[in-house]
């Protein structure tokens, strides 16, 4: 798959994730009615103590993360070289997003014992973004570039 297509795929997945995170954030804020505890697993997850992370609702982190990934991937697909700051930030975001999704899924499975379908979708999107962003490729390029820089003019022209 071409690099530009991968970044476009990332942008589309991030946009979907952004809307789902927005929905969950509005729900968390009570926009869709006063929060209630129900027998559904989403209610259990959203009303658990793990629904906040570092003082902010988890969906707010989702909005910020998917928003950032969307912007970075749009920058890259529009003419990035895959070696600039946006590409590197996207690599780190993809890695961080995957790690956070694994953490949240583990909390749902082993601590809360309830799985929210929206959280599953969000986690799958993060996995998809990780696979498409392929940060390992970016890191290989970065290490090659730094190796070439260390090697002087021969590396740069080679």
């Amino acid at each position: 798959m071409k690099r530009v297509d991968r970044y476009r795929g990332v942008a589309l997945l991030a946009l979907v994730g952004l809307f789902i995170s927005l929905y969950l954030l509005l729900y968390h804020m009570g926009y869709y009615g006063v929060l209630a505890c129900g027998s559904g697993s989403c209610d259990v997850v959203q009303s658990s103590r793990y629904a906040d992370f570092l003082g902010l609702p988890v969906p707010a982190w989702g909005v910020a993360w998917y928003g950032a990934v969307l912007v970075l991937s749009l920058i890259e697909q529009a003419g990035g070289t895959g070696e600039g700051l946006a590409a590197r930030l996207l690599d780190f975001a993809a890695l961080g997003g995957l790690a956070f999704s694994i953490y949240l899924t583990a909390i749902e499975l082993f601590v809360i014992h309830a799985v929210c379908r929206w959280c599953v979708v969000i986690a799958l999107l993060a996995v998809g973004i990780f696979l498409l962003a392929a940060p390992w490729k970016g890191m290989r390029i970065a290490s090659r570039t730094s190796g070439a820089s260390a090697g002087g003019p021969r590396g740069r022209t080679g």
């Binding site: 530009v4 297509d5 476009r8 942008a11 589309l12 946009l15 979907v16 952004l18 809307f19 927005l22 929905y23 509005l26 729900y27 926009y31 869709y32 009615g33 006063v34 929060l35 209630a36 505890c37 129900g38 027998s39 209610d43 009303s47 658990s48 103590r49 697909q77």
Partner: protein
Amino acid sequence: MATRQNEGGGSKWFYWLLGLVVLVGVGWLLTAGRSSGEAEALPPLGVAQTTGIEADPSAGVAIGPENAAVTIYDFSDYLCPHCRDFNAMVGKLLRRNYAVPGGPLRWVSYDFPLGDRSFPANVAAHCALDQGKYWEMHDMMFARVESWASEANPTGQFVEIAEDLGMDGGDFRQCMDQRESVSRIIASKQYGVNLGVTGTPTIFVNGQPVPRTNQFYSYQGLEAFIQQQAEAAASAADE
């Protein structure tokens, strides 16, 4: 040249798709709000009556005059964080200020355990009722939920709370072990199910179900209604 044309076509296709996702997403957020609000509106009283609204009102625990201007049914779960907030910020204050002898409010608390883990707390509340301390226990179990929620068997924590509230620990523990209130708790939850309760907290004001989008889930909203009803009742009595 051909490659650049392909990239241009791909780019156009990509932006169209992006725009489509934005449209669908915005539409979804707007309609999700509407449908969610409708789904939370419980059936009107007339429908609920035919499905047994008056079937077992005695399963709840009441405070306040029987002939109060306003009667509130409260279906809550002790492990539900929103019930804890609702009790601390609304229920407890309203009961203290208005559900008093000669006051305008009667508050009826119904057990609505959402899962098996909540059940011991409901039993504890009824054991406290036996010793005349139901409301104190009710409020304290919500307030101290962090101390007992993670326990597989929280009986020890409940006995501790009961003793802190001046109850006889031995009698309380015996009551917890006998679990004689279980059928009443189930009857209470069943009453809620018959009324259409699907989540907690859910309140009914003068028999009318209150959707969770309603201002009645705030202290100010309920207080204004209680005062208005009390004034109406007083002027009716004067005439």
